[in-house]
């Protein structure tokens, strides 16, 4: 070709195209991941939110409600909700990262990405890994408070917890991408916070155990042998209170909420306390995110074609 366009711009280098294998181009995944991380580190409000949520839930609610609830299965209330507060931070981090797509699609960089030869699967993958990494950082904030509430963490437990947090981050970012692909317009995060994050959080057993109801001071302590007997039939004694099942409709909602299982496994790694079938925990935590990622990539492709 006689006309070499690179002559127009000093230093311009002809793109050699993007090398990819089955839609996965490592350089594209990396640069899109890096973009998410840069955006995160510069957004002080998100880091501040991670700390303020931790203080509000873990310290204020933990000690406030902990004053009337003496213990849940031998753990203080603050210790009991520690995994829940981690999950809450992960929900905010991953969904904020994903919902930014609506923005990105209409007035941001995404249009530039769409018109480029880079494979969309790699772009989606970069987004999901970015969301998961941000989740890991935000989810680790409550762990800093662990010594303060008397939770002793083992190295193995911590590594296990990080693994669960990372997979939860992938799952929730993928879910967020699917939601974002259906949103026509976006003028604030409030609807996501109230409509998605809070239901998932409250119905996951994060702040109350799945079986049992809250008793507290004024009740006689349950004798140890009765506590053992109750535990065998799957009922967990709380503090000095009488043990009652949650209403069935709440139970049903908790059981269909995938976050319940992920949280249960996280609580197992952090506190060695676990209430749901372990197989279900492992399946939901590790098998569901890859499936969600594939679905998210499909929705992303569809969203961009419809424009």
């Amino acid at each position: 070709m006689s006309q070499d366009a690179s002559a127009h711009l000093p230093g311009a280098a002809p793109g050699v195209g993007v090398r990819s294998w089955a839609g996965i181009a490592p350089s594209v995944v990396l640069v899109m991941w890096q973009r998410e991380m840069r955006r995160y580190w510069r957004d002080r409000s998100q880091i501040f939110g991670g700390f303020s949520r931790t203080v509000l839930w873990l310290v204020i609610l933990g000690f406030g409600l902990g004053a009337s609830l003496r213990e849940i299965e031998g753990y203080s209330y603050a210790q009991y909700i520690l995994p829940g507060v981690i999950v809450l931070n992960v929900l905010f981090a991953s969904l904020q990262c994903a919902i930014a797509l609506v923005w990105d699609r209409e007035v941001g960089l995404l249009r530039e990405v769409v018109v480029s030869p880079a494979p969309m699967l790699s772009v989606t993958l970069g987004k999901l890994l970015g969301g998961a990494t941000i989740s890991l950082v935000q989810g680790s904030i409550p762990l800093l408070f662990a010594p303060f509430i008397g939770a002793r963490l083992s190295v193995g437990g911590l590594l296990g917890a990080w693994l669960v947090i990372f997979f939860l981050g992938i799952f929730m970012t993928a879910l967020g991408v699917i939601i974002a692909s259906r949103l026509k317009t976006f003028e604030g995060f409030g609807s996501i916070s109230n409509g998605v994050i809070q239901p998932l959080y409250f119905l996951s057993g994060a702040i109350f155990p799945l079986r049992g109801v809250i008793g507290g001071v004024g009740f006689l302590d349950i004798p140890d042998h009765l506590r053992e007997e109750l535990r065998r039939i799957g009922v967990f004694a709380i503090g000095g209170g009488w043990v009652v099942q949650l209403p069935e409709w709440i139970q049903a909602l908790v059981y269909v909420n995938p976050v319940s299982y992920q949280l249960d496994l996280l609580r197992y790694f952090l506190l060695r306390f676990q209430q749901l079938p372990l197989v279900a925990d492992l399946l939901v935590t590790f098998a569901l995110p890859p499936v969600a990622a594939v679905v998210a990539a499909w929705f992303m492709g569809r969203m961009l074609k419809q424009r």
């Binding site: 006309q3 311009a12 002809p14 840069r38 923005w103 960089l109 880079a118």
Partner: protein, 271 residues
């Protein structure tokens, strides 16, 4: 693909959205090295046409080729050949100018060893060297537009698509950008731009006037004035009004417009 083959060929290109036909059978050619303007009122189908030519929107009828590659079947090859500047900035405002350019270099597969030079060259060309490490959020409209134009050229495209490139710029910014586009043109770059700015269209090699999804006239500015102007000293505005009528083209705000106006109030950062 021969040297003389046209850079862009659209044949009966159409796009419907449900019942509405945004582009209804548009045919035209853009020659290599030509500077071509798609001119038309709001909602005429200019952006839809550009989106089909740049492969980001699938046509519902007809075909189009860019540098000999089919926009549907050979989308990947088309994408490698083109540079695109969107109507509204498509930048990550939380990243610096350099970081935005770096992403572009990776997306287009600019080899690692030439990335640095490509980025610096683009900043230099856009007169943004001193502010390369500033976040794009702090840039004026003109600076963003220059950055986007430089970015679109980084990977050595053969065809440049500009969707309303000077919209929203002040006269200085407009002049500056125009000089840069002129330099590209002198260098032999093929450019297709949409506009509703008549003096800009007048400066192009050829103009296609599009209205209600149809190409109503096509030719050099001089030809159009002669054939459709209706008087000896007709300008392009006379041609435009003669062909597209006097009726106002009001449109209700779309979901996208709402987002854009939200963005202008501070948008994401008000959260």
């Amino acid at each position: 693909m021969t040297q003389g083959a046209p850079a862009i060929v659209a044949t009966d290109l159409s796009r419907r959205f449900g019942e509405a036909e945004a582009v209804a059978g548009v045919s035209f050619e853009v020659r290599r090295g030509e500077f071509f303007a798609l001119l038309g009122p709001n909602g005429a189908g200019k952006s839809t046409t550009i989106h089909m030519l740049t492969t980001i929107l699938a046509p519902t009828g007809g075909t189009a080729e860019v540098m000999g590659f089919d926009v549907v079947r050979q989308a990947y090859d088309v994408r490698r050949q083109l540079g695109m500047v969107f109507q509204d900035p498509a930048l990550d405002e939380r990243l610096t100018a350099r970081e935005n350019l770096e992403i572009h270099a990776v997306l287009y597969g600019v080899p690692r060893r030439s990335r640095r030079a490509a980025i610096e060259g683009a900043l230099e060309w856009a007169s943004l060297r001193e502010v390369g490490d500033r976040r794009v959020r702090s840039f004026s409209g003109g600076m963003k537009r220059r950055l986007e134009l430089a970015r679109a050229l980084m990977h050595g495209p053969r065809v440049l698509f500009l969707d309303e490139p000077t919209i929203g710029l002040d006269p200085q910014g407009r002049r500056h950008l125009w000089e840069r586009i002129d330099a590209l043109r002198a260098g032999g770059m093929t450019v297709l731009m949409t506009t509703h700015n008549l003096p800009e269209a007048d400066a192009c090699d050829r103009v296609g006037i599009i209205d209600a999804g149809r190409m109503v006239a096509i030719g050099t500015p001089a030809e159009l004035k002669r054939e459709h102007g209706g008087k000896p000293d007709a300008d392009l505005e006379d041609v435009f009004i003669a062909l597209t009528g006097r009726q106002l083209r009001d449109e209700l705000a779309t979901a996208r417009d709402l987002m854009v106006s939200f963005a202008k109030q501070g948008g994401e950062h008000t959260r």
